[in-house]
Symmetry: C2
Subunit: 151 residues, 2 copies
DNA sequence: TATTGTTATACTCTATAACTATA
DNA sequence: TATAGTTATAGAGTATAACAATA
């Protein structure tokens, strides 16, 4: 059917310009991975940021709230509620910091350690899923190139 | 100074596990680029999503709201306000769709076209900044690998 | 019956100001 | 004087339900 009207309509959307931008592609990839992440972490009742916090505490026993905030780009007031929730779930405890009475050291409980172990296994599988179309070399290359952007 | 306390403190935060995940690295890179983007788009009074909308309309005159929403993963109710604002700024107009009386085709005004042209030039420079530590080949590789994840 | 655009609204996420206890 | 943790709160971003007009 021929179109005699002045106002054009769009058949297939041309996204070539946006797709030429690294930032656009990084954002799309991030959203796809985050969506899969959210879905598969639901069984543990964890969000992305909860997993990041728990994993960092697991690998850094005694880490302070401030160190977590700096590492994960979280504002301190926004971390308080997360730690409260994780403490109420008996996955994590606040203990006095050995050298600084202002600070609190964060530690996982036995249940927290177990949950992190399971969640990290799931994340490893998710990671394999998300990058299933990449070879092992390509996956390493991707991570290396991304790190060059943000470090 | 030796530490005799049972509760350990963390000197340098170990982020090696998170950094081994493509998703974590993609997110960090995205945030760094988005921050730079936000800062440099301030002169045009545009957010990331506003630029995406304007650019898509520029390259797809007559595109509908629904097509924009599908392309950019925006919920239709959340697009309405954006288009209203861009229309009030006289950068964009809604016109009747030539084949579907339910829909509206979106078009840029002369001012809108000019702004997109300038903004895209700025974005091209931002892109070069963000990927300045990558060679041209590496940059193409990065985009290609990211596309393999989200398509 | 399904779809486009829209309104109203709720929910989550993120950011800022200000306070206390301690360095 | 500066910093860690906290409270209260505001703002931005995102999601869902429901409606009128049209396919």
């Amino acid at each position: 059917m021929q179109d005699k009207s002045t106002a054009p309509s769009v058949d297939k959307v041309d996204t070539s310009y946006l797709e030429s931008l690294a930032g656009y592609n990084a954002r799309r990839a991030t959203l796809v991975i985050a969506e899969s992440f959210l879905k598969h972490m639901a069984v543990y009742n964890l969000r992305l940021v909860d997993f990041s916090v728990l994993s960092l505490v697991a690998h850094n026993p005694g880490i302070t709230s401030r160190q977590l905030c700096t590492t994960l780009n979280i504002q301190p007031p926004n971390l308080v509620g997360m730690v409260n929730t994780l403490e109420k779930r008996e996955l994590m405890t606040r203990r006095p910091h050995p050298h600084d009475a202002r600070a609190m050291g964060l530690h996982l409980t036995a249940a927290g350690k177990k949950l992190v172990r399971q969640a990290e296994e799931t994340v490893t599988r998710l990671e394999e899923d998300a990058t299933s179309r990449l070879s092992a070399t390509e996956r390493r290359t991707l991570i290396q190139l991304l790190r060059k952007i943000y470090t």
